[in-house]
């Protein structure tokens, strides 16, 4: 009986701590979003109140949609993120398979070479990257960003995926070889489907930094037609800094797509983590 009570107390404390932290985590987002639907007066008078019939206003959103090209920014961000993820996963999985599956001269060395980039941030090379992009005419194109993010994501992708690929049973692959499958087919048909959870994890961990990056869009692609959503909202907010309605609405609009993405991929992430744990 004592144990049961102890357990209930423990679980109460656990929920208390978690609820507290959840409130801390969500409070700023909540405040920004509710205030974006209010009149300027109401924003300042009662910042914590929900918008009601009197204080409801969409003036901020009107300004944002009139002044900023958020659909274009969104599209650019989408192209860059999806494109980079595609190349990271494809190239990363191929290289990981080569390192995990075959014994060849220089295997370890190649693994170490590719792993260097896990610890060394690509930003260190920005000066030379910009110079290269200017020389190749890629500056102010989305390709510049896709290339940089692919290079940035590959090392960790190769590392994680090769760990997982080592666990794929040799019997399965050898059975495939006996059946006459080529090495390429073994990779695409047998191994890739088995490491899907790991691929999802890699995708999720890369997606967030790519979508949110401000540094490379600012340096490599600052012109209007290739602005990403992150850079676009940064510039917009900088210009409208005294228009609180517009700033709050722009922030809410920037939150929206990431939240939508998150709802879609959070299940993938958790599945990736748990299947990694259960093996």
């Amino acid at each position: 009986m004592n144990v049961a009570r102890q357990n209930r107390l423990n679980s109460l404390a656990a929920h208390g701590a978690l609820i507290l932290y959840t409130v801390i985590a969500l409070f700023p987002v909540f405040v920004i979003v509710i205030n974006s639907f209010k009149t300027r007066k109401a924003i300042f008078r009662e910042p914590l109140a929900l918008p009601d019939a009197e204080s409801f206003s969409l003036i901020g959103y009107e300004t944002v949609l009139k002044q900023g090209d958020f659909f274009l920014y969104f599209q650019n961000s989408m192209i860059v993120t999806v494109g980079s993820l595609f190349f990271i996963l494809l190239f990363g999985a191929m290289a990981a398979f080569a390192l995990a599956e075959y014994r060849f001269k220089g295997n370890t060395l190649m693994g170490l070479y590719l792993a260097l980039g896990i610890m060394i941030p690509i930003r260190i090379g920005t000066v030379a990257i910009l110079e290269m992009m200017v020389q190749t005419g890629l500056v102010n194109t989305l390709w510049a960003l896709i290339l940089v993010y692919t290079a940035q994501g590959l090392p960790l992708a190769v590392f994680i995926l090769s760990e997982f690929m080592r666990q794929v049973s040799d019997d399965l692959k050898n059975a495939g070889r006996i059946d006459g499958l080529s090495e390429y087919r073994i990779f695409f048909r047998l191994v890739l489907p088995l490491v899907r959870p790991a691929m999802a994890t890699v995708a999720v961990f890369n997606m967030i930094p790519i979508w949110n990056d401000l540094w490379f869009p600012l340096i490599l692609a600052p012109s209007e037609e290739v602005k990403t959503l992150t850079l676009g909202s940064q510039v917009f907010i900088g210009q409208f800094v005294t228009d609180w309605n517009a700033v709050l609405s722009a922030l809410s609009l920037a939150i929206l797509p990431v939240m939508a993405l998150y709802v879609v991929f959070s299940r993938q992430l958790i599945r990736g983590i748990t299947s990694g744990a259960v093996k």
Partner: protein
Amino acid sequence: MPEQQTKAKFRWHIVVFLAPAVMVYTAVMIYPLFNTLRLSLFTEVDQSRVFVGLENFRTLFGNTLWSTQFWNALGNNFWFFLVHMLVQNPIGVALAAILSHPKLRFAGFYRSAIFIPTILSFVIVGFAWKLILSPIWGIAPGLLDAVGLKSLYAPWLGKEAYALTTLSLVSVWQFVGIPMMLIYAALLSIPDEILEAAEVDGVTGFAAFWKIKLPLILPSIGIISILTFVANFNAFDLIYAAQGALAGPDFSTDILGTFMYRTFFGFQLQLGDPHMGSTIASAMFAIILIGVCLYLFGIQSRMRRYQF
């Protein structure tokens, strides 16, 4: 016989599998990295590049105009990192430990909710906190007033003494989800047999966490620490979004990333200088390299890896 076969046939598929990744990685990451290190040995005279050896480094460390800025940025960066290590990672571990309790209800909800700040961009986070902490809007003073601590309020982001710590804590708020998720995954991967064996021996609850789980997740904590180190020492976005490239007030939030950006790109009256930018980038590279080596040879090699 098998040996002959491998000698006779060159395995082209290995090259095909490796080539795309190695090429992109080499061309866009490794080559520019070394090229940046090389550029730090040059300077521009009359629109042409001139080799000057270590002159740029002498300017960076010897010229007080540069060196005070550099040491200021480096010191701020260390403080930024320290706050993350002391606040973000312990909270992350604690949350993961609570979440990993097998009978906890709504664990999925908590986990998803606490991870939300991590997915937001620095721009959103920087501005949102700037607004919330702003004395004009009055949310922060209002909230403090509600718990009777109004006297504690100060416009933190505008005060030299507090701005950096405030921004570090904002960054902690944003990224606590990452250590939480990684530790959570590590905790789940501890086999039940070990915990059951401990339970049979009477080790449960807190004792089980300290004596059994924590030692088993130490490698993960090590990895998180080095990830935090690297991320902090090339941080830029949050400071830039919240305080601009001048990292105000009076450079009190300047870290290496913003310092390099200002130098490389120029800002207001200062002209951009790619060669000094490369010099700062090289210094950052050295710092990160030292940190990573300390981790690899000092910490990781001493840790035992548990195989389940």
